[in-house]
Symmetry: C2
Subunit: 232 residues, 2 copies
DNA sequence: ATTTATTGTCTCAGTTTGCGACAATAATAG
DNA sequence: CTATTATTGTCGCAAACTGAGACAATAAAT
């Protein structure tokens, strides 16, 4: 967080970072110091930085990960996003002068992205203004500030629409996974149960999964195959 | 076009305005005075204006139409969009001082939209800096400035992807149209021939078209039905 | 050795899709 | 007035795809 001329004015980004654990879809939410305000992880674009690079830079800081599956889905630009009181509250709670950071009190458009990551690879890390960065079940989110709830809703909607066009599900899993795990990811995203046989037939028919040896599963049933993403 | 503090800095929009005529998909392109530069119609967002409203305002100016089918599809934010020389050329060719309009020489992100309109309803109108605003066949575009060719390509790609999810084709036609005309629209968008019987069966199966009386067509064959969009 | 839970696969019926065929018909040509 | 031409609405059939249940296989637990 630096002073005014370092970032493009009026432009912010927010990222909806999806993870999958315990059969549930989750997203990363930060909480600002001493305010009780919850928000999506976001940031600003440096004067000589590509927009997409700015978002990847923020993702790296928040998750520790490079090379994340990332997709831009909408730019939010309504006037009623402009609530300088909220930003003033955050700055003051952090002991920052609202003069030095006056540029933050201006109107912002937000370019929204969603990211899909492997839950287990992540070490969620708060930024300078926040005291936590944590996973929340998608159906148990705290009240989010500004229009961030709307951003999450549109992210999920876009993710669902992309699910049958792009092969996206496996970005939420480790490199090797079972068919059952993959199906649970799809079910969590779509919010509905899928028929096991049909799902398996469809996934294998795409010829995008490589089948490996059997998994040694500590479970009381037949050991499933492991798959990885990639034809060869 | 007004002075600096009237618009949000760093933010522009561009619109890919699709029309359909003579079995071809076309888009509106403007040419800047005395420069030979071709570009998409675009504009800026007023300080207290919703982003979407700004785009509709621009569409109204360029086409004379309200209530246009409009969809945001991507925000372009690479650094190499920043080519102040191009904007300087345009300003000078129009006799504008680059001091008064210095804000135009800054870096811009562009939020891109596509619009679908009825070709026959439109009176294309140039803006203050351009001397023409005309239809061009999608496959015979002039060289477009900056990354506008890339914007057009992504617009078409998004339109194609949306074609099987949203019912979008009829926005390019008059209120009443024949099944053959509708099919030609789809073929122009997808860039491929479709089977007549299958197309008709699918469209009617959606139960979104109302069938009217026969058309008196001056053509030497059976007169087709007319349809309009809307169930009832 | 038996039970339990889950996996990989198959079959079958129902639906959708691609494609050709047929009669119907508005204008035109003879 | 009749035949021709071009295009339309519709049907039928085969191929492909989909949803759902059924069956044997098997790793761990009893």
């Amino acid at each position: 967080m630096t002073q005014a001329p370092y970032y493009l004015k009026h432009i912010a980004y927010d990222s909806v970072i999806f993870g999958f654990s315990g059969d549930k879809l989750k997203i990363l939410i930060i909480r600002y110091h001493n305010t009780g305000l919850y928000a999506l992880p976001g940031g600003f674009v440096e004067l000589h930085e590509n927009l997409n690079d700015a978002v990847r830079r923020g993702l790296k800081e928040r998750t520790g990960l490079d090379n994340i599956y990332l997709e831009q889905f909408y730019t939010f630009g309504d006037v009623d996003r402009y609530q300088p009181d909220v930003m003033r509250t955050i700055l003051e709670a952090n002991g920052h002068s609202t003069e030095t950071y006056a540029w933050l009190l201006d109107r912002f458009l937000s370019v929204a992205y969603y990211a899909l990551i492997n839950y287990n690879d992540v070490v969620p890390t708060p930024d300078a203004l926040s005291d936590s960065c944590d996973w929340y079940d998608l159906d148990q989110l705290p009240n989010l500030m500004l229009d961030h709830a709307e951003i999450v809703a549109k992210a999920l909607q876009t993710l669902r629409a992309n699910l049958d066009r792009k092969l996206v599900g496996m970005n939420l899993l480790p490199a090797r996974f079972t068919m059952g795990e993959l199906q649970k990811v799809y079910e969590a995203i779509l919010g509905e149960k899928l028929h096991r046989g049909t799902f398996q037939r469809k996934m294998l028919g795409l010829e995008l999964l490589k089948r490996h040896e059997k998994q040694y599963s500590g479970a009381a049933h037949k050991a499933p195959f492991l798959y990885s993403f990639g034809t060869e």
